[in-house]
């Protein structure tokens, strides 16, 4: 069963840059998909179209029952609660410790049993001992795992990870990839965007290649 589909999707930025051209693909429930392409090939734009921060200029994106052509602004938060998003820069709040960074994601959606669930995901991501550390006290790999933990705490059906291994050492990168494999084994679909071909090979699953806004 597909939980995500792109149907001849194109996107042009207001400045006239064509970021995506006629992109079509689908993602099944529990599937692991790696999107590989160089910088500027349209990977981040594609992810933003999935969580509907951007809308196609042509074509349709369909995510877990929500269509980009029909979704109403007040439905977007509901869609995002079904997704786990790991942005390229991690987007951790520097003045809050690891526990609070993860808990914020649950508080923001009025989640219940926050404390228990946060400790559970911190355990799952191997961060229990770092719960009271501030982001600047973490290694690159740990910081990425905090962003993944935050994305996981609301139990998403699809995890979107933008360059989760970017800028971290090989050991840290391996930790992140094995974590993503475990999450996938537990049932969540994963769409990972990377410019590193090797990441796709190490992660396994299906690979899509993107260049100049087109699937190649």
């Amino acid at each position: 069963m597909e939980i995500l589909s792109f149907e001849r999707v194109s996107y042009s930025y207001p400045e006239g840059i064509d970021a995506l051209k006629e992109v079509s693909f689908g993602l099944k429930k529990g599937e692991l998909l790696t999107l590989v392409g160089p910088n500027g090939s349209g990977k981040t734009t594609l992810l933003k179209l999935i969580y509907m921060e951007l809308f196609p200029t042509r074509g349709r994106v369909w995510v877990d029952g929500y269509s980009s052509q029909k979704i109403r602004p007040r439905e977007i938060p509901k869609l995002r609660r079904r997704l786990g998003i790991v942005p390229q820069n991690g987007l951790l709040l520097e003045e809050r410790d690891v526990f609070e960074n993860v808990a914020l994601a649950m508080r923001a959606v009025g989640g219940k049993g926050i404390k228990g669930r946060v400790w559970e995901v911190l355990g799952q991501t191997g961060l229990s001992s770092r719960a009271r550390s501030l982001p600047h006290q973490l290694s690159g790999g740990e910081a990425k795992r905090v962003a993944i933990a935050r994305a996981l705490c609301n139990q998403p059906i699809l995890l979107l990870a933008d360059e989760p291994t970017g800028g971290i050492d090989p050991q840290g990168a391996e930790g992140v990839l094995s974590l993503l494999r475990r999450i996938n084994e537990q049932g969540a679909a994963i769409l990972l965007a990377t410019q590193d071909e090797e990441v796709a090979q190490r992660l396994g699953g299906r690979t899509l290649r993107i260049a100049e806004g087109m699937i190649v």
């Binding site: 969580y51 007040r74 938060p77 509901k78 869609l79 995002r80 609660r81 079904r82 997704l83 998003i85 942005p87 987007l91 709040l93 003045e95 914020l104 994601a105 923001a108 959606v109 009025g110 935050r150 994305a151 609301n154």
Partner: protein
């Protein structure tokens, strides 16, 4: 509330300056309002003393005077009519200024008169004037007097003061709004990453706005409360020098709090545009 305290801890000086600005502005408005309300009360007391005096033709007989009393009583707005004979008028004058004051007068020059008291609501300049005109048109009445001029002046003064209060209220309301929206807007920028995270994880806009709204309310309420406190202290400090009967109406303090709360909340709500 947790997020509001978080912001307060981050920039206490900024928060304090905003609250002080609001409180001083509201102190100014409160002081003006207090002055206006006191003047209005004083005016009401003066109005209660307003009466019309009708001077009658010399030589009017007691039966004619009684007839006039009945006719004046029939005029709308008249509460009470007290007839004053020539002799009573002279006695009143002597009681006020002493017998020697009238000793040199050969005959009693004072005319008989009617002192006319008015009902509540008939003590404004226009109403007094209309009663005076009707009384003046009665046969046997030579002249009518009432404190029309000073009543008019006082009315106009209080009206202008009220106008000033309204203008001041609008200006201070706007300055509270801008001060709060500026401070809350800056705390929004400080917390932009946090807002981004909340949007990513699916928080509704209502939820994201809430801490900023609370922050605005909190600032406005605190500013209003401090303004009311300052006004109360100022009143206590000045009360020995103020005329007796001067009061600080609790509505003024409530108004300061309310205005701070409303404009603080609005400032918080519109601090980030959407």
């Amino acid at each position: 509330m947790r997020e509001v305290l978080f912001s307060l801890q981050g920039h206490p000086a900024r928060f304090l300056v905003s609250v002080l600005t609001i409180s001083l502005s509201l102190l100014l408005l409160g002081a003006f309002l207090c002055l206006t309300l006191n003047l209005k009360l004083a005016l009401q007391e003066l109005r209660a003393k307003v009466e019309v005096e009708a001077f009658l033709r010399d030589g009017v007989t007691p039966s004619q005077m009684e007839e006039l009393v009945q006719r004046v009583k029939g005029i709308e707005g008249v509460k009470e009519v007290i007839p004053v004979t020539k002799e009573e008028a002279l006695l009143d004058l002597q009681a006020e200024f002493g017998k020697e004051f009238t000793a040199d007068l050969g005959t009693n020059p004072l005319p008989p008169s009617l002192r006319i008291k008015l009902r509540k609501g008939w003590r404004t300049k226009g109403a007094v004037q209309s009663v005076a005109t009707r009384v003046g048109s009665l046969k046997g009445v030579e002249d009518v007097e009432y404190g029309g001029k000073w009543l008019e002046r006082l009315d106009r003064f209080v009206f202008h003061l009220l106008l000033l209060d309204i203008i001041l209220g609008v200006v201070i309301g706007l300055s509270t709004f801008m001060s709060v929206s500026n401070v809350v807007g800056r705390s929004f920028l400080d917390r932009y990453r946090e807002v981004e995270v909340m949007e990513l994880v699916g928080a509704t806009r209502k939820f994201i706005r809430r801490p900023f709204l609370y922050e605005g309310f909190f600032q406005g309420l605190l500013g209003g409360g401090m303004g009311a406190g300052f006004l109360y202290l100022l009143f206590l400090l000045l009360s020995p020098r103020l005329p007796s009967g001067a009061m600080l109406p609790p509505q003024v303090l409530g108004f300061q709090l309310g205005l701070g709360l409303v404009f603080g909340g609005l400032g918080g709500r519109f601090s980030f545009g959407w």
